[in-house]
Chain length 676, copies 2
């Protein structure tokens, strides 16, 4: 059954609904979509039943912290994919299993559940997790923790002392991080905010109060009220249109995309096809969208060729740079702690996505194990930004020739709202074989209240740990590191990374009066230790090649990684947040495929100790030449806030590309046709 319910959303005046349906009316997902499909609502329910039966009596105390597809081993999926792609149905359908993480009686347990047998799920294995770190937070326990202060006398006194109206206080929560403690409990910090007169309560933090909640006891285990700071005014912090007063502006004339020929993409269950691309689109509560089995059509061979086996955002590390008591611990791992998928926002038609978008719902397990639906969790649309695919004007010929091909592309989008921040996550497929990974950072800054109302009052700027954005508001310096898991299979499973270094050469003999030029020196890392790179230091390119596949004229087929803005971690290597986020020690890593290596911050990221990160995996120094390799790219971003980010941030977009490099025999869009 198709896990997506499709809702074409079009601007009224150009209602192509009928047309859209011809293209997009969901079919029952075929057998061959099966093994990588995300869990369905009924599967979530049967998993819950199975798990609860397993624990019997104990089950009331049971909470679910991750329920996701435990995809079959790659070789299984690959051989199945191969069979179905040649039209034959596999003898036995690949196994379908789920991986489940629960908390019970104050400890973490992992379960593997089989879904193969119709509606009934059955337990395969179960094990108590004895290691360090804790699973993702559930929304229910976060709410519960945030409510505790309202029945906690010392907190009520603190609010009273500040002459605040308790009914206007809202509490949000923060992970506590790990800073060398030998023993830890599963805790959350509670951060009080003040909503009086604004939606933008993040701009009105109540500083000076420390509240630590033990999640297993679900009670406040630490409380301090150390100092008071002026709470920023509500004035000027609102962003809802309904609350705005004239004058308005700038006025933008909106635009609708009209495709008289109808949309160019087709969604069948979880399989998306568009122009020369097809791929599987999944959803996971932890990482959000998952692109699998992306392959592109080769006009020369007349076949679809593999590019990407599986890609997703493995982790999102957001360390703040304020080392004071109530801030130093703010070193968030939005993937492993909050879940990018379960934090996804319902997309707004005609705003989050253009009028020609199709929306897809998604599901994840609530703390009680029951499926929750996120309406419009993802959208798929064709983008035409007025760009040119290729062009040339030839003036050397008597008949002047001008040939131009406009560029249309396909975008898959999700927005993950982790508390104050909104991440617009785009995956863009282009007809020239390029896959562009882009993220837009927007939403609300995490700010600190201060008594300063003017920079002249600030003696030492270093004491701000950020930028003064408005009276009494400091936008704290911070980073965003998105760790992309890129399991490329360039025209096959066994690939190698080639580093092409552009090196200055001297003109040897005086044959010509010129003295220098540059040449390409290729370096192929053989093991993981040779494949850790800081980018932007020297002119070089990175290409993933298939050593056993060559073009007709003998070039190894490949795909190159084209970095965008590069941001590396500036924290001290031996600092605790950096040990936990050691995957940001480099911008680019290569590891051999290992199904268990999914989350660069570790399986249990909350209060993790860095013993299960990409850095530890990579330290095994395995062979990566002519192997099934995975690239890990860190999209890094340092944020020095500016007043323009107040009270809500204009989206900052940044990204990178995978680009064919001798993958095709020639420009794959040479014969492209763009229908009016």
């Amino acid at each position: 059954m198709a896990i997506w319910s499709l809702k074409p959303l079009l601007s009224p005046p150009f209602c192509l609904t009928a047309l859209i349906f011809i293209f997009l009316c969901p079919k029952h997902s075929h057998q061959y979509h099966y093994p990588l499909n995300s869990l369905t609502p009924s599967e979530f329910t049967s998993i819950r039943k199975c798990v609860e039966e397993t624990y019997g009596e104990a089950s009331p105390k049971l909470t679910f912290h991750y329920v996701g597809l435990d995809e079959p081993d790659k070789p299984v999926v690959q051989s199945w994919w191969l069979q179905q792609s040649v039209g034959s149905t596999p003898a036995s359908p690949p196994p379908r299993q789920a991986y489940v993480v629960v908390r019970i009686d104050g400890h973490t347990e992992e379960l593997w559940v089989d879904l193969g047998k119709g509606d009934r799920a059955s337990l395969i294995a179960k094990k108590v997790y004895a290691g360090k770190g804790y699973p993702m937070f559930g929304f229910k326990e976060q709410d519960a923790a945030g409510n505790l202060p309202f029945s906690y006398r010392p907190f009520l006194d603190s609010v009273e002392r500040r002459k605040l109206n308790i009914s206007l206080v809202v509490c949000t929560v923060s992970s506590t991080g790990w800073f060398g403690e030998k023993e830890t409990k599963r805790t959350l910090r509670v951060l009080p905010l003040y909503k009086g007169g604004t939606t933008n309560l993040y701009m009105r933090p109540i500083e000076g109060i420390t509240v630590v909640v033990d999640l297993d006891l679900m009670e406040i285990v630490r409380y301090h009220d150390r100092f008071r700071v002026m709470i920023p005014e509500a004035k000027g912090t609102e962003y809802r249109m309904s609350k705005m007063n004239p004058p308005f502006g700038p006025i933008l004339k909106g635009a609708s995309m009209v495709q008289r020929g109808g949309p160019g993409f087709h969604i069948d269950g979880s399989l998306v096809s568009w122009a020369n691309w097809k791929f599987h689109l999944g959803f996971d509560s932890r990482v959000g969208p998952v692109i699998s089995l992306a392959s592109v059509y080769d006009p020369d061979s007349g076949t679809f060729r593999q590019v990407l086996y599986r890609a997703y955002i493995s982790e999102l590390f957001v360390p703040y740079m304020d080392p004071t008591e109530d801030w130093y611990y703010r070193t968030f791992f939005d993937g492993g702690e909050s879940g990018l998928g379960q934090s996804s926002s319902s997309l707004k038609p005609h705003a989050d996505c253009p009028n020609n978008a199709v929306f897809l719902d998604a599901y994840f397990a609530w703390q009680d194990g029951e499926p929750v639906e996120v309406k419009n969790a993802m959208c798929v649309f064709e983008r035409y930004a007025g760009d040119v695919l290729w062009r040339h004007t030839e003036v050397l010929l008597p008949e002047q020739v001008t040939e131009v091909r406009p560029g249309v592309s396909l975008v898959v989008r999700m927005v993950s709202t982790v508390g104050n921040y909104d991440y617009i996550i785009d995956w863009e497929f282009k007809a020239n074989g390029v896959i562009k990974f882009e993220v837009g950072l927007t939403g609300i800054l995490e700010v600190r209240a201060t008594n300063y109302t003017h920079t002249d009052q600030v003696k030492n700027n270093d004491d701000l740990y950020g930028s003064l954005l408005a009276e009494n508001i400091v936008g704290t310096y911070h980073d965003h590191f998105l760790a992309y898991h890129l399991d490329l299979d360039v025209d096959g499973v066994r690939n190698s990374l080639v580093k092409e270094e552009l090196k200055t050469r001297r003109v040897a003999n005086g044959s010509v009066p010129r003295k220098s030029y540059w040449a390409v020196e290729k370096m192929i890392p053989r093991t993981e230790s040779e494949a850790r790179f800081r980018l932007g230091q020297e002119p070089s390119e990175f290409v993933v090649i298939n050593p056993s596949k060559r073009t007709k004229i003998g070039n190894n087929v490949g795909y190159s990684l084209v970095p965008g803005q590069v941001g590396s971690s500036i924290l001290a290597r031996e600092d605790y947040p950096q040990i936990r986020g050691a995957f940001t020690d480099y911008n680019l890593w290569v590891t051999p495929y290992n199904k268990s290596e999914k989350w660069v911050g570790g399986r249990f990221t909350d209060q993790s100790r860095g013993d299960d990160t990409l850095a530890t995996w990579s330290s095994r120094n395995r062979k990566i030449e002519n192997e099934d390799i995975v690239l890990w790219y860190m999209l890094g971003f340092h944020h020095v806030p500016v007043q323009e980010d107040f009270p809500i941030m204009p989206a900052l977009r940044t990204g990178f590309e995978l680009r064919p490099a001798n993958f095709f025999e020639r420009n794959p869009t040479l014969k492209v046709k763009v229908t009016p």
Copy 2:
């Protein structure tokens, strides 16, 4: 009079022509557009007359190599702008003058012509240029040089020896560069190509023949036929749709932009206004589009505030990396040698620009001084790529709040086709105050013919100086450096550059268990030598501030430069091409405003010797703190060709941004309204 003739081009089914006209029907450009307007056809003609009268008898031998606006000194324009912006008409209109470069009797002369007095132009000054280097090439002389071989016996013999059909030979030309010669003549290299069976003659070079033409004598002064190389087949090189055979594909469903509210921009003469932006759009035969007096509306002050006084692409340096006899000299300066403006291609409606674009014609002086019109030389359109200006979903409140603002922007586009290469040059203005500078590189590669048909035949890859792209075709390694002239006036003329370095700090006292964080250290270069930067080496930001203007809370108003991919020159510093292109020694430079410092490769770039480059200007080490400063940003790009670039290159887009940094009191799009 408006120099642009406007031709709204819309897709038939949504004909808004009437509407468009209300918005775009060209008015006579008001007096206040006057001083920066590009030269008009009648002005070109009166300049020609004036110059010919000056030389009298000699004039038949006279050729024009540059005729452009010699804009008034900045203070004059500034004070005039100030007056007109408050509505008062300046006592005396600013002077209107032209700068002219001619060749006569084998030498270069510069003339300054006054245009103030109605239709009659009068000579102000005239001087023989005694320095090194030569002016831009004219198309007439390039054609003439390319025709010489056809009446040159040795060349005809060479063609015969190669058993080629002379009627299929086409000759293109190349600048000769400078490689330490004491004495130089004004010469061109002639490069023979073979068009048999294809439009794509660049893919069929006839190698081994050296032809050097003296342009003053207009005769071949050097000729060698040193070796023969297989000429690549025509097969597979064609790119015209009319010559393609099925199967076609990929098939893209085209899209039209429909703005029911009509376009959001307005063009009055040379003044473009859109949303919260207004700027002057000019055109120059050497640099192409010129953006002047760009200012953005500040909702807090209720006024337009200056951002950019004048911006354009000062030079485009394209060195190739093949040091052999017939290639080493290929180190092109497409601005100073060929002229980005006079090389502009007529834009194709619905292809080069989307259906909602408005097209503008441009003019430049032919070698005889008469104006030539380039139809559709530039286009202006609103881009909606489905992007989000800002958004947030607030889950902490009982009533879930989601606010999203879609992003529409304004694009000014020109395509400059310099021989084989097409540069798509975009200037994008965004409502959030961002100006994005982007270039798309497409067209045809410059390739070398080779006898190799397979990489296995290549003993030493270093001998290729490029990549084998097809049988007998090598795509030569090369660079593109676009040098942007960015004369920022951030809220006024006197600005300073601030380098913000992000530095690791240690947590001093053991107050918290965390060990490190980062802080911002500001460095303000005082002189030019302190303001030369290689980007991407360390985490830092660059902000141009106005030291005497602050926000209400005391931050200096500023605009930050956000680099994209950074590419620095890899040539040896002491190599001749690098001496001439010394402006690529760094990615970012700052100089004080100096009207005469326009072209970073020098006024006379052909065979220049590096005595008049940005590097020499900067070596004067002038004060740049709290001065009227100019930023020079190098958009650099190394090209290792791949088979996908054959036979025509998919556009590679890259760029950078200017972004407000405490320029506004708050997000300037907080009250943005997007009309349906």
